[in-house]
Symmetry: C2
Subunit: 383 residues, 2 copies
């Protein structure tokens, strides 16, 4: 297996406004996306990969810095590529940056045509369903009426799930990894702490910090630190860091004593240097709001009634953010509807982050599932 | 059972400097404390109750606001009082505010005699063992050579445990509830997020905010919110708040959507109005540093070798901050030394906070244990 070599993003402008669930609309916007592999003649081998909070259209392959030669690999390069579980020798894979994100598609840091200034606080809140609508328009533009599969992990899995409900005819398979049908009170609580850290940072300026030439770095840093704790498992943290000290003995000050502090602060610092604060707020709200059963009195089985896709659901035993029990709720509702679902609960130590990491059993499950997806694609081509 | 009626704090000044584990020392300091019940003639019925992060010497009974008549009950009033599990009709109970705290004993907000200004950043870091040393001096001054029991929950339990190791002859019983022999990497991570929120608040001014007439409220607020999440169980939060909305439908903004947000923000706001930021930093560090096995190559059994006290250890099934597994480590090390220990693992839904809450099984276990403690006191008096 090799990675895709150098890849490059493309972009597409959509002149027609996107009507949003909030009642607002997003006028004239750009989506940045990448594709890997070749679309077949009847456009039946396309797979859409949806991204989570801190990711983008750059799913696989490498960006190369011309000056330094340094490579930036896609966030799911272990999953997507030639000979990989989602095999780009067979499938035409699309990664698209969601509107409101900060990696190229129209977002809060871009110019609001109505004011001539950055959107900032005026950028509308988008939901998972709004993103799916935007993705469907991109699919239309690329001539893809029906995906062989729509796939995602965590928040990306919510998008895949929303696809199966909103456009039941437009996907044959739905792959939902380390996700949940809705956030719990504890999930929302962690998101709100992160938001409050950003909202109360004096450098946030009510969302219009761009005009002040500052960034609410301290808030973003704390937000990322608290988020990061929830991505790792207690056991994994104990294994990797334990109570290991950075130096000799306790420092009796507020610098770094423990390796875990050093690691978390580094993650927070790094994140605060590239991630947009308004995007963080917006995406955590999209997470909180996702609740497809809500319109059906909380009945997920009813919410799933019109789903046509076949499913692969996967969860990880040590994921306490979106635990296996949450994935099983999805499985149960599909089973209640006599819909086709394969479920894998993978015994992995890495908590929520496991969905991004190499694990032979996990990769084999996804690989085997995509062999079935490919059989379906081949059968359709022949029929 | 009735509560103690109106109680009042006392204070004692210690002229002799307290030599600290850090190598620094705390010169001339005051401890604020309360006592309930009557010390018997041979001073054998005294019980010391140690407090956790956000508590004080005000363990039981009521403070009454003379103007309004409003009562402020002690933090463990359900546990300590006439006819209560720790019965003040029998025992002489002492609550003492630890130095470095913000409820009366000498702390960072008090005047540093060396500078004539508030200590602020110059207040030395104290450890659990330093607090125990200060408590022992208070016991000396009160004429108590040996406690019938030393008791605490969470961080208070660490102090009780430290008593049993530091002064093995000075306590007959040790009651350690919802505690741990040391913090895990995840525990430390949550503490460090809270500290970073405070340290990076511009109103913190490196710890010397008193001179600026401000308080790092935003940092304290976020610190408390993240802490509070770890005190509650996922299930309990789901039960109490779930995804209940405050108003009708989603607000599509960053105000309050969910009841859990409202609750947490309220807790954070309230806390930031009375708690001292330097105290928060100092106490979380004392938590992080507590690790009695560290001097014994990580061997808790060896650390416990000289313990003479009998133990009651209690934990709560849904406590994910200091889970039952952590209490069992203490139990196992005691058992390895053939020391006497009673262990209760209580099936309670309220997470770490359960140690402060009413629960018949929990209260009955503590009550029954103190009946044994009382038998020991009575036997000593007769012998």
């Amino acid at each position: 297996m090799t990675s895709l070599s150098i890849v490059a993003p493309q972009s597409m402008y959509f002149a027609e406004a996107l009507a949003l669930q909030s009642g607002a609309s997003l006028s004239g916007y750009t989506l940045v996306y990448e594709t890997y592999g070749t679309l077949n003649a009847d456009a039946s081998n396309a797979v859409l990969v949806c991204h989570a909070l801190n990711a983008s259209h750059h799913v696989a392959g490498a960006y190369v810095n011309e000056a330094t030669g340094a490579k930036t690999m896609g966030w799911w390069d272990n999953m997507v590529g030639p000979g990989k579980p989602l095999d780009t020798n067979k499938f035409f894979v699309i990664g698209v940056n969601n509107p409101g994100s900060c990696f190229g598609s129209t977002g809060p840091m871009h110019i609001n045509p109505a004011s001539g200034k950055p959107y900032g606080a005026d950028f509308p809140l988008l939901t998972v369903e709004d993103w799916v609508q935007a993705q469907a328009r991109l699919a239309d533009a690329l001539g893809i009426h029906r995906f062989a599969a729509v796939m995602g992990g965590s928040l990306g899995g919510m998008q895949a799930l929303a696809w199966s409900m909103m456009y039941p005819q437009r996907l044959a398979h739905c792959v939902v990894i380390a996700s949940t049908p809705k956030l719990s009170a504890q999930n929302i609580a962690f998101n709100d702490v992160a938001r409050q850290a950003i909202l109360t940072d004096p450098d946030f300026h009510g969302g219009d910090f761009y005009a002040h030439g500052v960034v609410p770095k301290n808030g973003l840093r704390v937000a990322r630190m608290v988020g990061h704790i929830t991505y790792l498992s207690d056991d994994d943290m104990a294994e990797k860091f334990g109570r290991d000290l950075r130096g000799d003995g306790y420092q009796f000050g507020y610098g770094v004593d423990f390796e875990i502090e050093s690691y978390l602060r580094y993650q927070g610092d790094k994140f605060s240097e590239y991630f947009d604060a308004n995007t963080y707020l917006l995406i955590t709200k999209a997470l909180d709001y996702f609740d497809p059963a809500r319109a059906f009195g909380g009945d997920l089985t009813k919410a799933f009634a019109n789903i046509k896709a076949k499913f692969l659901i996967a969860s990880f035993t040590t994921d306490w953010r979106f635990s296996p029990a949450r994935s099983r709720e999805i499985v149960q509702a599909l089973v209640n509807n006599r819909q086709k679902v394969t479920y894998a609960e993978i015994d992995a130590p890495h908590g929520h982050d496991a969905f991004l990491l190499e694990d032979a059993r996990y990769m084999n499950v996804v690989r085997a599932y995509y062999e079935n997806v490919w059989d379906d694609v081949s059968a359709e081509v022949q029929s």
